[in-house]
């Protein structure tokens, strides 16, 4: 005779490892921030490599206004940290600034920005590996001289 199976919890099915389901009656739901105890790279499914070499710290990122239209997935159904990134990119912003303001580690930010770019939500204005040319340097010099 089969033992009686334990009673299934009522509510939405939970997917292991139960991440992102705080507030669904999990025994640990009362704990502070759901993300606070996680190693940063949980957000990238453990990926630490494969950062797009185009994405530097100073690289400018902008949200595509047609992003959700193209992907068919509204921003509201993205993971919270992806939504947080999208919210910061209405105007051009650097990857470093996204990392600081979204409080995500730099490596994590670069991977997630790369994901959002690949999915069509973000434009990444690829950096140039070359040193700036004399004209650009002269513009910076003039700009700094104007500071008083």
């Amino acid at each position: 005779m089969n033992p009686v199976p334990p009673e299934e919890p009522v509510g939405p099915a939970r997917i292991r490892p139960f991440l992102g389901v705080s507030g669904l009656g999990s025994p640990h739901a009362a704990e502070a921030s759901p993300l606070s105890g996680l190693r940063p790279f949980v957000l990238t499914s453990g990926r630490v490599d494969g950062v797009d070499p185009d994405i530097g710290l100073e690289t400018q990122v902008t949200a595509r206004s047609d992003g959700p239209l193209r992907t068919g997935v509204p921003l509201s159904s993205l993971a919270p940290e992806l939504r947080a990134i999208m919210a910061l990119c209405a105007d051009p912003v650097s990857v470093a600034e996204i990392s600081a303001r979204a409080r995500l580690h730099l490596g994590v930010t670069r991977i997630l920005v790369g994901d959002l770019r690949a999915a069509g939500y973000l434009d990444v204005h690829a950096r140039e590996a070359a040193r700036p040319d004399p004209d650009t340097i002269l513009r910076v010099i003039r700009g700094l001289r104007a500071i008083s």
Binding site: P40, F41, V48, G56, L57, E58, T59, Q60, V61, T62, S65, D91, P92, S94, A96, E97, S99, A100, R101, H105, L106, G107, T109, D123, H125, R127, E128, A129, A130, R131, P132, D133, P134, T136, I137, L138, R139, V140, I141, R142, G143, L144, R145, I147, S148
Partner: protein
């Protein structure tokens, strides 16, 4: 006449300067003095093979360290924005310097003249990377523990590398140190172009 704006604002071209130096030499103060935003902090996780210098008997493993980096920016004009990244000065953070140096205008190596040791790794690195750099001695309270010539001698750097004294708290002083660096960068860029 109305100015027709493109619906999506074109992003500025970013240029960057690395502000390197040991712990507590005034990197963040330097960045904050010139930045138009209060310096932001970002963190990078680095994994490095433990080298076990102090304890060779111990099994070599991997260690994970979180490195904090402060940065700020200056809008040069509508299409050009200067970023300043303050980075720790230990050689084991070299992985970050590779990334930071890529496409950078140059580096300002901030030095406390009473603790010159701190800046050796950064000086070494930028020399090898052939990135234009300037040694900027932070004159705490307007005083230098060593004369600039002594600093140059102690660091054994090339005559062509500028060594300047500056006050990290003073906007104009930081600006002038950056201008010395940019002059170097301009020289290099012009020379490269004419080759």
């Amino acid at each position: 006449m109305d100015f027709v704006r493109s619906p999506e604002q074109a992003p500025p071209i970013p240029v960057k300067i690395v502000v390197a130096g040991g712990f507590g030499v005034g990197k963040t103060t330097t960045v904050g003095a010139i930045s138009e935003i209060s310096p932001l902090t970002t963190e990078a996780v680095m994994t490095s093979a433990g080298v076990g210098v102090d304890d060779p008997g111990q099994a070599t493993g991997k260690t994970t360290t979180t490195v904090a980096m402060d940065f700020g920016c200056v809008t040069i004009d509508r299409s050009l924005k200067l970023y300043l990244f303050g980075t720790p000065g230990q050689s084991r953070f070299g992985f970050m310097w590779d990334d930071l140096s890529l496409g950078a205008l140059g580096a300002l190596v901030v030095v406390d003249s009473s603790r010159l040791d701190d800046c050796y790794p950064a000086v070494d690195y930028f020399e090898r990377a052939r990135l234009p750099f300037v040694v900027a001695v932070n004159a705490f309270d307007g005083k230098l523990v060593h004369e600039l010539d002594e600093v140059r001698w102690a660091l054994a750097i090339d005559e062509r590398i500028p060594v300047v004294a500056f006050d990290a708290r003073n906007r104009i002083s930081v600006r002038d140190a950056l201008l010395v660096l940019l002059d170097r960068a301009l020289d290099d860029a012009v020379r490269e172009q004419s080759v």
